[in-house]
Symmetry: C2
Subunit: 482 residues, 2 copies
């Protein structure tokens, strides 16, 4: 036998998949892990621990799960508990109702009919309540394992690489990085549109419209992606802004992908979440039956923050079900978990007034939202006291995305090291304080502006201290590099 | 505003994705659902209910979940239960240990370090025990949401469509249909190899070898897919057959994808599961460090049958981790559920002798395996009494795949109706008995042979009656169409 080559190597592997491997947090989190190890080995640092402020994981950051939700999930997982007196009656009733809809009453069955029929009906009822009666048809809803997977699936429907021009996808800057990766993997082309920081990160629709003729020279613009409430910006779109976007979509034949996963995380006074679908409906028959919208939502954020259980859904508006029903075939690659999806059912249909669990459930929700509102205010206040940092009002989602000044000398030094200026700042911040932030450049930002994304998920006192340390460090950074 | 077209329609959508939409069970299950409805509406049928025998869903078909597994899952989902006296001490201890490894002790966190570090170590220990000491490195293991998704991801690494010749993938006939869809979606080309029915569905390696030169004219054969124990065949490969396959892979530069999801479902006297990795290791250094294997497994089948919770893993053998670590980036599209993955941990490390839950756990496993063994024997016996049906010994997995005779007149009638002959048979069987089987043609079969797949999951008495009704119907079918 001759010595032969291995088949699958870095050189021989699918280069397209390899190219998608752009770790955005990579160097910062890798360095943070090294520092953590150094601390454990007794190496002296100007801080005692690494403080991660980079990911939107409510429960990992100390937010408690919703009691009722976990009770129902535990009862369905181990139905012998229905005999236990540790559970309120409404949790048991709910669990019994769900178990009746599962194949042979088990979360261990594939439960295809629960996932493809029972649950879409319940989601549809929720959507009608949410949108004050705007009709929703269960046939237009697909349950999925979370919105990341949903976005990949949805793009696979829309992106058509057999056409002469590449499919163009309008994506905000800043964007949520998953969209960049997904668009790249799907073979489509990104058409950036810049959010208007000076107007609190609203969308400047005429600017998008003016940019389209140029985009049409190199691609076929088909999709308008909007994240509302905004990640990383924390902006909540006004009804007017949404209505303008729908006008644009109607005029320019764009399909809207509305990423509405933070719809429950709206806490600033006066800010209200409007779904794209509701606004469309209210714009009358001329639009109502024609503009195509795909909206995604999950239980990873919202009031439950159950990102570990993996469940979400997609609503298709004005799209022939034959188009997206192919996802039922493709879905065999991504069957959602029965425990996750039953938790989705409970989140969308929480205890009602008079139910034994109602008061606790409402209290837990209110605590989360009040807490986020309070932290948003504190964050704006502390950051805006710092001369080189500016943060627009945070109306929703789970993050602050302040602009930070970076002096010219730091920009030059960063360039010499092959880093983005905000990456340079974040690395120094990490070495000095142990705080890990996301760089603005990983979300995209207007040329010459620099940002960081800070999660609002630490307990209030800890968050205060984190923000003060960031502000103080930034001041030192400014004087050192000016 | 001009009236304009909708962007996303059946005509404009990705035709590649649309083409993947080949529902294999489609017409049969659709008709079964119609019949179910007709029965409810009072329309008379020669049977009282639809009897589905087409899918490998243990729990949906009445098999009980493992008590210890569900106890630990419930305790981790709702940790307040750690105070309850309804749980044995070992379940509580196990739950406490798992919760310590979860981010902030919550199944609602993303739990990236649990999924990418803690769990691979535990899987690695299991694999070393399973393979009698053959070393396993946690760095070569990736946790996933189940093997369907795993296979899609793995093929995305291997299939390289920038090369002149398409990637060729050797796939058994019969195959598990997911592979056909996945290969089609990945842009690779299938190279069929026929399992040797006359030798109980073993693999004829020299036949594969002889077919390769012809395949090399239209593709670049890179991957050898093997399902062991076999689905739909129920065959368990001998150590010798596996060793021959590894020789072939070494000589022909093939990467082996070993689908080993039924590794625990081996029940025929004398049949033993050998992992490809263990056999490779025992073949000595010349092979041990060179032949590349990717093995997949999950908790959907095996002794737990927890297909609804979505958890599995992939082990990579002799592959540079830099190749598959890109899946950690891609995985952000398919984050596994924390509840599912902790159940995977428990399945791979069950209670030990002396633990309070040991006896129950062992008893539950033995019940399942004895039950399958008994049903396999009954199935062979009943089917082989029928002159037009032949079933080779079922050694493992969850199915029988008997060959059925179809008379010429039935074949002609089927062709006239645009059906496969076995599809024609299955439709008539459904109308006459309410029994829903999978057609052999949906798995692929040698030209001129016809099969059906029957699941062994109904309770024994029910299975007996199902098999008798199939055999009786087949006899009538033979005389009617001969």
């Amino acid at each position: 036998m001759m010595p032969r080559k291995k088949l699958l190597t870095l050189e021989s592997m699918n280069q397209w998949v390899r190219a998608a491997n752009v770790p955005i947090l990579g160097p910062l989190t890798t360095r943070a892990a090294e520092i953590q190890k150094e601390i454990q080995e007794g190496i002296h640092k100007p801080f005692t621990k690494i403080t991660p402020c980079f990911y939107g994981d409510l429960q990992a950051m100390g937010h408690k799960p919703k009691t009722f939700l976990r009770q129902v999930a535990a009862l369905c997982t181990y139905p012998e508990l229905l005999e236990s007196d540790r559970f309120p009656e409404d949790a048991k009733t709910r669990a019994r109702g769900i178990l009746q809809n599962l194949d042979n009453g088990s979360v261990g069955s594939y439960n295809e009919s629960y996932i493809t029929q029972t649950l879409p009906q319940k989601i549809s009822s929720f959507l009608q309540r949410r949108d004050h009666g705007v009709p929703s048809n269960p046939r237009n809803i697909i349950v999925c394992s979370g919105t990341s997977q949903a976005i990949v699936s949805v793009l696979s429907l829309v992106v058509n690489d057999e056409e002469e021009l590449n499919t163009g996808i309008l994506l905000s800057v800043p964007y949520y990085p998953l969209y960049m990766d997904t668009i790249a993997l799907s073979g489509a082309v990104k058409i950036p549109y810049y959010l208007d920081e000076e107007h609190g990160w609203a969308i400047n629709v005429s600017q998008i419209r003016e940019g389209l003729p140029a985009a049409r020279k190199y691609c076929n613009p088909k999709v308008l992606c909007v994240i509302n409430p905004g990640n990383p910006t924390g902006h909540v779109l006004t009804r007017e802004n949404i209505s303008e976007l729908i006008h644009l979509a109607a005029e320019e034949d764009l399909l809207i992908i509305a990423d509405e996963v933070y719809q429950e995380n709206v806490f600033a006074p006066g800010a209200v979440f409007h779904s794209f679908k509701k606004v469309l409906y209210e714009m009358g028959p001329k639009y109502r039956e024609r503009v195509q919208i795909i909206s995604v939502n999950s239980i990873s954020k919202g009031i439950s923050g159950e990102c570990g259980v993996r469940a979400g859904y997609i609503e298709f508006v004005n799209i022939d079900p034959a188009v997206f029903e192919v996802l039922y075939i493709l879905k065999s690659f991504h069957i959602p978990s029965a425990i996750g999806t039953l938790m989705l059912e409970v989140v969308l249909d929480p205890p009602q007034p008079g139910d034994p669990s109602y008061d606790t459930f409402m209290m837990e929700n209110q605590t989360l939202l009040n807490n986020l509102a309070q932290k948003a205010q504190i964050t704006e206040k502390i950051l805006n006291q710092s001369p080189g940092i500016h943060c627009y009002p945070i109306q929703g989602a789970l993050y602050a995305f302040p602009r930070i000044q970076i002096p010219d000398r730091a920009i030059r030094l960063a360039q010499e090291q092959g880093q983005e200026p905000d990456e340079f700042f974040c690395h120094l911040l990490l070495e000095d304080t142990g705080i890990v932030l996301c760089t603005g450049s990983s979300f995209g930002q207007a040329a010459g502006t620099y940002h960081v994304r800070i999660t609002l998920l630490h307990p209030i006192d800890e968050l205060k201290s984190i923000l003060q340390r960031i502000a103080q460090f930034h001041e030192r950074f400014m004087s050192e590099y000016s």
